[in-house]
Symmetry: C2
């Protein structure tokens, strides 16, 4: 199943040793090469590949990590069944020109007694943070570790996980990390469903119903384009779209500002229209990041 079309694909080098990973990156940088880093949990879709392609364009060496990070899953969440396919991932990474895949063992990343956590306050408590306690703490902790193990020039994150991307950008700024965070546009299926490794959890009916997430975002965008700025009017129209699909059980639907990640009454400035919903056993999220001003609206990033 070729999901991208590069002919002369080379398999990336696979590194699982933490010190070896860092040694290779440091050596490349000492030799004057720029390094791009794409942290992932694997099971690649075109969203992941778009990050790798962007990293490939902008850097001499491209490193992708595949690590299903236990500390960002809650006790009742899908850590164990999260889809994994290293062989397929290596082939796909090779097709987009990735140089190195870093795949560390869980026991090397969190050797007991593990004790240290990184936490971003405030902006991790709304949206997904309100429904997944400890999730972002797991994310910021593992990203800190990965940034130390892969000391790159640039790191690439998808806008589909908007709150995650903004939390990481804030962490990088607050802790003075020496890395540039690049946020890349969400990649969608033809019918608008945002690419996600968790889409494999969807049955056929659920898959069709899941398009309601993006359709509700489009309704929000259209209302904003027509000049609507009242948050509750927009949200009720979004809910109307979601309510038409009984298989879609919304968790939250919100319009927040990009700085504080707090609900807005009036939609203005840099905002995220964000939602999460359960569809079957999948928990799906989607969003639009927008700049909204008198002139109209601009899609970000």
């Amino acid at each position: 199943m070729p999901i991208c079309g590069r002919g002369e694909a080379l398999m990336p080098e696979l590194i699982s040793d933490l010190k070896e990973m860092r040694r290779v990156v440091k050596e490349a940088r000492r030799a004057g090469k720029t390094v791009g880093f794409v942290p992932t949990m694997g099971y690649f879709h075109r969203g992941h590949l778009s990050l790798m392609e962007r990293a490939r364009e902008e850097n001499d060496l491209v490193v992708v990590s595949i690590f299903v990070n236990p500390t960002q899953f809650g006790p009742t969440e899908d850590f164990r069944e999260y889809p994994r396919d290293l062989e397929r991932d290596l082939a796909l990474a090779g097709e987009v020109g990735v140089d190195i895949v870093f795949h560390p063992p869980v026991e090397d990343m969190y050797p007991p007694p593990y004790r240290t956590y990184v936490e971003v306050e405030g902006i991790t408590e709304t949206l997904c943070g309100a429904f997944r306690p400890g999730h972002f703490r797991g994310v910021t902790t593992v990203v800190t570790k990965l940034f130390h193990l892969v000391p790159a020039d640039r790191a690439y994150f998808g806008a589909k996980d908007a709150q995650q991307a903004l939390v990481i950008r804030k962490m990088v700024e607050d802790l003075n990390f020496d890395i540039e965070v690049v946020i890349c546009p969400t990649v969608r299926e033809e019918d608008g469903l945002a690419m996600s490794s968790r889409n494999v959890y969807l049955g056929e009916e659920e898959r069709r119903a899941a398009t309601a997430l993006y359709r509700s975002l489009c309704v929000a965008r259209d209302l904003l384009e027509k000049g609507e700025r009242n948050s509750s009017s927009i949200l009720s129209e979004m809910h109307r779209v979601l309510d038409e699909e009984p298989l879609v059980r919304p968790e939250y639907v919100e319009i927040v500002d990009c700085q504080e990640m707090r609900p807005l009454d009036r939609v203005e400035g840099e905002v995220v229209v964000a939602l999460a919903a359960r569809v079957g056993r999948a928990r799906l999220i989607d969003n639009l990041m927008l700049r909204v001003d008198e002139e109209g609206i601009t899609l970000l990033p």
Copy 2:
């Protein structure tokens, strides 16, 4: 007041800009130089200078930071009156051959809205952690920031702050920092009082009474040398020494293991005999780090 005797002292370069600091260190490392880093809150005494001398011996470039870090002080603690004397510090640093003093403004280190903290769990909850809630979180947060701004090969910490040194060592291990933590021996006045910037708070009588801290540690060491391994027997002898000085109000007296920082019933392995006491308006701490086994005891580090 020359407290060290090098003749041809050169003033270190003073850097306050965060990006400039990192640029200089990166440039040195790119040129193949090793970099030693001594994070301090300034108001140097011979303890600080011993760290700088060690860094000077082991590295091509020596950077010392002077930053009285607000996030590690509690609301009722001495952040405002903590002693400061940049001119004197620069001269002393110059005398021991420090190349650069990094002195960033508080508002550049914590620009609002600041949100990100690093926390080491468990080993920060005993000893000083039990009496200074949030203290170690402030320490690990600022040290993370400083390690990113001064990306050195080695960082030097004094054993006087044993719990701090062990917490930072654990943080470096857990978060995969690319830096070696070097713990250096406590430097003492002739009568045994551990060097501390806070000793300036002591009046004449208090200064004399304060020697009880080290005297009680010596009693513990003597008992261990004689084969005593029962923690409560040793602690009660230590308390006896402290109780003879009414000006000394003990906060804690403990014998803990170096890994978990938890009180031991039987003294064995790598341990810290640690105490904290109020003497006048000063809060003083001191400790002995020891390896205790059948052969006897060895002083660490």
